[in-house]
């Protein structure tokens, strides 16, 4: 009898110890907080609840994914890698999020995914392929891409082929021609007319007022500044166009795949 009462006491003490160390996380409550966008309450709950460290980081990673805090998400993801990797829906949503994020975190994320992706995670394959295609657009067979994305891929491929140096050279020969080469027709027209007028004004000042007249110097200065801008600017515009069309392709791909598989975070 005495032995039994001792065992019971021990059980009670053990239960209290366990209770103070780990608690059960209420996923229903977290889902409620997430659906109603109760950010502060959600974060407070995650900080107050006492669960295993990797589980906590897993929930924190999902929290940061929902509120688009990329660097903190990647930090928590690294700490809860095994758990997060088993959650296909969260992994899929994270891929979709990073597909349309224009930052270095995108490279980091897909670098990790490409290293560790298994054959079984077939839902992720098309998204990762889209990212791969965006890195090497020249090798892409357009028929492998969904029909809705082919137009964006074509414009990206077209922009990727343009060379900044060639665009600058063309602009040096005829002002604005480089812009026409990269597809900016309006800018071509504006630059051609504006620089043409400036050149005409400079020549007229030169012939009527002479080389040393202040107006000739001002006209010549304006013309020279805009002419050099026209050459240098198109170099950066070509690069910017490439990035712009690439990001548009990836954003549209992300939107397309989010409609194909409608996963929920919780």
């Amino acid at each position: 009898m005495l032995l039994n009462s001792r065992i019971i006491y021990c059980w009670i003490v053990c239960m209290f110890m366990v209770k103070t160390t780990f608690t059960q996380i209420d996923t229903g409550f977290i889902r409620h907080l997430s659906e109603n966008q109760l950010k502060n309450e959600h974060w407070t709950y995650l900080n107050e609840v006492k669960i295993r460290q990797d589980s906590l980081e897993y929930f924190k990673a999902k929290f940061h994914l929902q509120y688009e805090n990329d660097s903190l998400f990647l930090h928590s993801f690294d700490k809860s890698f095994d758990l997060f990797y088993k959650d296909t829906s969260a992994l899929y949503l994270a891929c979709l999020h990073f597909l349309k994020t224009n930052s270095k975190d995108r490279e980091k994320w897909f670098g990790r995914i490409l290293d560790d992706m298994t054959v079984n995670q077939y839902e992720l394959h098309p998204i990762v392929h889209m990212y791969y295609y965006s890195l090497h657009p020249v090798d892409v067979d357009i028929s492998q891409i969904p029909e809705q994305l082919q137009k964006d891929m074509n414009s990206y491929k077209k922009a990727d082929k343009k060379k900044p140096i060639l665009a600058s050279t063309l602009s040096a020969i005829i002002p604005g021609l480089g812009e026409l080469y990269i597809g900016n027709k309006k800018v071509f027209g504006t630059r051609l007319i504006a620089l043409g007028l400036m050149a005409f004004q400079t020549v007229e000042s030169l012939l009527t007022l002479g080389f040393k007249h202040p107006l000739t110097i001002i006209d010549g200065g304006f013309f020279s500044a805009f002419y050099v801008t026209n050459i240098v600017g198109v170099y950066y515009d070509t690069k910017a166009k490439k990035t712009e069309t690439k990001n548009q392709f990836l954003i549209n791909a992300s939107n397309y795949f989010s409609a194909v598989y409608q996963y929920q975070l919780y």
Binding site: N184, K185, T190, A225, T229, E244, T245, Q248, I251
Partner: protein
């Protein structure tokens, strides 16, 4: 009650709040940048334009970071020559309906081109 009614009726005609613009941000810059008088002249011209001329002509730029602000920030970041060239490049592209030549994701809700200083 009258105040509330007046507020409701005239709120749409309120002028936008004037943004507090600095002449130049000299934090973490090299001493060569800080001592170059041409930088101050160029930034000063932009500052004068923004605070005096721009409001008078009710300028409405097609870019989210306006051409003058973009030039100033480019001068801060890249120095006088490259900064001025990039600013002039944007200025020469600031034409009506330039949004049509950009992708959808760089057009803001206010129908302005989102430009980033990289």
């Amino acid at each position: 009650m009258n105040d509330v009614l007046l507020q409701e009726v005239f709120s749409q005609y309120e002028l936008p709040i004037k943004t507090n613009r600095k002449l130049l941000n000299l934090k973490d810059k090299k001493w060569t940048f800080k001592l170059n008088p041409l930088t101050y002249i160029a930034a000063g011209l932009m500052y004068t334009y923004q605070n005096v001329i721009s409001e008078q002509i009710s300028a409405n730029c097609n870019y989210q970071i306006s051409c003058s602000e973009y030039t100033k920030k480019c001068i801060e970041k890249y120095g006088l020559i490259k900064g001025t060239l990039l600013g002039l490049n944007q200025l020469s592209q600031c034409i009506p309906n330039i949004q049509e030549e950009h992708c959808e994701h760089v057009i803001s809700e206010q129908n302005k081109v989102i430009n980033v200083i990289e």
